[in-house]
Symmetry: C3
Subunit: 277 residues, 3 copies
């Protein structure tokens, strides 16, 4: 199985699917095509929270503001999973969730050794000659999802995730770009954290572990007292509450409304929770 | 086959797909991930109009404003189809379309008997311990799509829709929440109805059966005379018309434009159609 | 394999998928459901750029402002691919990319000979009787994606793309609507072209072949001097640049921003590029 995640919108993911289908019969599953644009940290969060629910898979990830620069294309083997994407840190948080950090193995893609991606029957197409007359290899400079990451994901699926060493264009990575999603500072009765992402419902998801709310009926969130709910329905529709979300973190939400608007929060904002009872 | 419909946006449906893929090789087909947020009635309409085009399937439906409350998780067997979703009425209109009402069989899910959904390799994840230390069972309080409905849909697919009785956590439902989409009041030359939904094109879809328009060249819609068209192209681009839509109901549309804006209509608005000729 | 592309938004594509699944076990791949609404030219561009990356497939395309008029339903055999959609030109540019123009074969669908599309179990549904009592055949007048194109695509997949002649409702097309995406006028140091589309990133994609930029460090774009980049990262985030995009054409972009806004460009706008160095 190959999962596909990007910030591409439409229809660029279809070109990646075409390339995948050219090279493998693997089952394809869409994870997202609308991660916040070029937001490596948000993508890293969502991948960490979603991919562990999949059976062993090859995960194709393209959130890649540095496309075309000298940033590497990376493969990370994490337990029975393989992650393919840019070396900008987006793969690290999920990799560490999928397998112990000491067991992770990272590989760099030598793009010059990749077989070029060829559209069919396009003698007249300008992209048919892209990169053919320079030394930059077979890839366009702006769409490595199609030209690099999809071919590598297909090859990994076909070779088997245990046999990454058999792919001649992969070599062990000396060093990779890391990305750590910040941890909240939790002490007795006080948690200093951060809004990591806002989901499509408007729930402001923090990095404060849900256990902090245990036994609380109300909590001060950035100084304002807000009810703690077991469920959204603990408060009336339109009312604010603090809740343990499905990722296990504290969220600032509104029952049937948008928590980000009601609390005035966006990703990256600091949040202090205090148990004043 | 398992179809997937929700109001989740992105990327929550991917977590459901991961759970499904963990437990079954069933073909997965996306119906929608963007039903109007927490709008049980709109979802009920769309499911009623779309799901009957599928071959016998298990249909996973999550539009669930009451998630985490004591509302039941429900399975409805409707002919060769099975519907899985919250007991808030969203499943009823499509169930009655798929099979005679007297033949429908409903089952309640005993959530405490469900095998927990476990992400892989996540010793460090706060969600790994969600609900482990209380009596509420293995589910989060905010994401039953992932923790309850997806596992049940996978199990039904594996057991076979004829063998729901073999699933120990299902028991016949005594009573279920019903939802009736309203019928229009049609008499000679006058129909009093309602806008049920507005589609993505801006077509305002009513509950007035299309037969009402038979033989009409113009119709008064809330008092304004509007042409009746066989096709959108019966009027110039940008012009309003009344038409029989693909669901068989009267729609108030604009050729290559938005009917909802042009007629000033939103779901729930009353609409009176009069044949004044 | 059947690919699916439309401007439908949600959830209409699901009805097409249901019909496809009723009639074939073909693998279904979503190309797009959000092509610019009723914009035949934009869809023609995207299909031309994306579908050639797929292996031989049947491609279902519905961008159809003339639905229900006497425009034909069309099948085009282009090499090992088959394209199914309205005869409004949307299929022509990709067909010419997939195979030499002289080898293309076009067929008209005789809709009156199509087996009707029946939802299951819907005695009470008004759409069950759509078109049953008139001479217009089995299709609704507004949703030929479900009632005409999907059934034809499924039948082509089942019959084999080499055996279109075996489908009794297909007959060779005498004439078809053509659509030519305009070519840029390129002479030494000057290119007069057009913005064909703006992608979801805001990149304004022109029809000027990328080779025009060879050796340029800066270019005058509609009179303003802009840097030419090999990659987005050639300029600072938020800065404008001109680049060869992944389709091989000149694009007017902003690194990590929207080129259409920064350059004030929308599809159809003229663009003059001049090498003043």
């Amino acid at each position: 199985m190959i999962t596909i995640a990007s910030d591409f919108g439409s229809p660029y993911p279809a070109a990646m699917k075409g390339v995948l289908c050219q090279r493998t019969d693997a089952r394809l599953v869409d994870v997202a095509d609308d991660f916040p644009r070029q937001d490596v940290r948000a993508a890293a969060f969502w991948l960490r929270e979603v991919l562990p629910y999949f059976p062993p898979s090859t995960h194709l990830v393209v959130v890649d503001p540095g496309v075309g620069t000298d940033r590497n294309a990376l493969v990370v083997r994490a337990g029975d999973h393989a992650l393919v994407g840019p070396d900008n840190g987006v793969l690290q948080p999920v990799a560490r969730r999928l397998a112990p950090e000491t067991s992770l193995e990272s590989f760099v893609v030598d793009e010059s050794r990749l077989e070029p991606v060829e559209p069919t029957g396009v003698a007249s197409s300008p992209q048919a000659t892209l990169g053919r007359d320079d030394s930059s290899g077979p890839a366009s400079n702006t769409f490595h999802g199609r030209d690099v990451f999809a071919p590598v994901a297909a090859a990994i699926h076909e070779a088997g995730r245990k046999s990454l060493e058999s792919l001649a264009y992969l070599s062990p990575a000396d060093e990779t770009v890391d990305l750590e999603l910040p941890d909240a500072a939790v002490e007795d009765g006080r948690a200093g954290g951060e809004v990591l992402v806002v989901d499509d419902f408007g729930n402001a998801i923090t990095n404060v572990p849900g256990a902090f709310l245990e036994g609380c009926e109300r909590i001060a969130a950035n100084g304002e007292l807000v009810p703690v709910g077991d469920t959204f329905a603990a408060v009336e529709p339109g009312e604010r509450l603090v809740i343990v979300g499905s990722h296990g973190y504290v969220e600032l939400d509104v029952n049937q409304g948008r928590g980000d608007d009601a609390f005035g929060l966006t990703p990256g904002d600091q949040i202090v929770l205090e148990d004043r009872e």
